[in-house]
């Protein structure tokens, strides 16, 4: 029996964290999102911190959705992909705008996946989906726990299918994960989150 994915109808935002091998995984996932994809997508990828980042242009060339490297105080709009700028943490404010910070790296990372996930969990609560992809450290593990505690939903890439399995494994070990999925299953589920499917949770 297929587990219920009804909760996806209530999702307003998807936060994605990735590190080593993550660009390939994102190149699989993001271009597959349909043009009428409803939630906002916020992405942290660990890259060397020399701006300008080439990632937004790389993704934009292949995605149906607009890809933005946000400025501080950018509004978060559905159907838009926001990629954290190199050298900055990307956070979500209570009013659901983006704020950036140059606070020190968190566990050697800036941007940090945990910083994005924990702040997004407080804003989006049970309307948030957190996704951890390939990576060689355990950034994102604490963030998924925060999302889970706030009532959101958490996925990780199946570790055997990830270029670097430490990040998915770290997340699973911390206990915040609901589903362990291949990129193809993730893509199929995300593909159903399109305009008109929104349902208020009662």
């Amino acid at each position: 029996m297929t587990p219920s994915t009804d909760y996806l109808d209530a999702i307003d935002a998807v936060v994605i964290g990735a590190s080593a091998g993550g660009v390939e995984a994102l190149n699989h996932l993001l271009p597959a999102l349909p043009a009428n994809f409803r939630p906002a997508v916020l992405v942290v990828v660990h890259v060397r911190s020399d701006p300008p980042s080439l990632l937004p242009a790389l993704f934009a060339a292949r995605c149906k959705l607009p890809v933005v490297e946000p400025d501080d105080k950018n509004e978060i709009a559905g159907g838009t992909i926001y990629v954290a700028p190199p050298g900055y943490h990307m956070l979500v404010e209570p009013d659901c705008t983006i704020s950036l910070s140059v606070d020190p790296p968190v566990r050697f990372s800036r941007p940090s996946v945990d910083v994005l996930f924990e702040s997004a969990a407080l804003c989006f609560a049970n309307t948030l989906l957190g996704v951890v992809l390939s990576g060689a450290n355990d950034d994102g593990a604490r963030g998924l726990v925060a999302i889970s505690r706030a009532g959101g939903r958490c996925w990780v890439q199946e570790p055997q299918t990830a270029v670097a399995s430490a990040m998915p494994l770290g997340a699973i070990a911390r206990g915040g994960v609901h589903d362990i999925l291949t990129l193809d299953v993730m893509t199929a589920r995300l593909g159903a989150m399109v305009a008109g499917t929104r349902r208020q949770r009662g």
């Binding site: 701006p51 501080d72 559905g78 956070l91 950036l100 140059v102 606070d103 910083v115 407080l122 009532g151």
Partner: protein, 280 residues
């Protein structure tokens, strides 16, 4: 986007305590953090709670109201910013190549480095102005709310292990000599030449509570506004606008934008990529 609040959770209580603490700090110590970005404050205060050995912000508040020494420790968590010299080299290159030629037309030049923290941006500009031979007629005003950071800025001493990246940035920013010409290394630290700061005024000034104090030709304020909410950003940008002469320059951090501000109309893009604006 619609958003939901987390009722009945520890996080919701934390947010209530956070508001109360900032109110208490303002009433007791007149430092106003009430319009700082919430998401960064949460992280910094969580860290402070952990390091200072309190389990709730309410407990911390109770002590803060009675113990000024403890407040000064908390104050560091709320304010300290670490930057780099010549951070984002293209910004400093744009100042050197595009802004300086215009500043040179003024008989005397005033520069305001707002929120200078421990002084990396200030020293960068002081070196740049010296190399462009306009230091003699320039006064730099370096302001911050953190007295300890201001003292560090004034001392101009940085750990030697940071100098390699400073030096790389300096060259990428169009530096004309070697950064080591400007400092003296000893005991694992680099002390920058004190003649560079002979025309620098260090002052306590709050973008949240103080008013305009000079007429400036250039205001450089990088990665300070990102810690403010929109209302406080507007206040600070209003100060910059009031402070600048007509056609004076405003430089912001590489991800800070005027386009969300009510003061956007007071400025024109000068170098949009490097976030350099000119007052209209």
């Amino acid at each position: 986007m619609p958003h939901r609040t987390l009722k009945d959770t520890e996080e919701a209580v934390f947010d209530i305590e956070l508001k109360l603490l900032l109110e208490a700090v303002y009433m007791k110590y007149q430092h106003d953090f009430r319009h700082y970005s919430v998401s960064s404050l949460r992280r910094r205060l969580t860290q402070a709670l952990h390091d200072l050995g309190f389990s709730t912000l309410s407990q911390l508040q109770e002590r803060i109201l009675r113990d000024a020494t403890l407040f000064s420790r908390l104050f560091q968590y709320l304010t300290v910013q670490v930057s780099e010299m010549f951070r984002d080299p293209p910004y400093f290159r744009a100042i050197r190549e595009q802004v300086v030629p215009i500043l040179q037309t003024y008989p005397s030049i005033k520069v305001w480095v707002a929120g200078c923290s421990s002084g990396e941006e200030l020293w960068s500009l002081a070196i740049l102005f010296a190399e462009e031979n306009i230091a003699e007629r320039t006064v730099l005003y370096a302001t911050d709310i953190n007295a300890d950071a201001l003292r560090q800025a004034e001392n101009g001493i940085y750990p030697l292990d940071r100098l390699a990246s400073f030096s790389q940035n300096y060259l990428a920013a169009g530096g004309k000599r070697s950064l080591s010409d400007y400092y003296h290394a000893a005991y694992g630290a680099a002390k920058f030449s004190q003649t560079l700061k002979s025309r620098v005024v260090f002052a306590d000034h709050s973008l949240a509570t103080d008013s305009v104090f000079l007429e400036a030709h250039l205001v450089s304020c990088r990665n300070v506004l990102i810690y403010f909410d929109r209302a406080l950003q507007d206040r600070a940008l209003g100060l910059f606008s009031d402070s600048l002469v007509r056609r004076g320059f405003l430089g912001l951090g590489s991800k800070e934008s005027l386009r969300f501000s009510k003061h956007a109309g007071s400025f024109a893009d000068f170098d949009a990529r490097e976030r350099l604006y000119q007052k209209v």
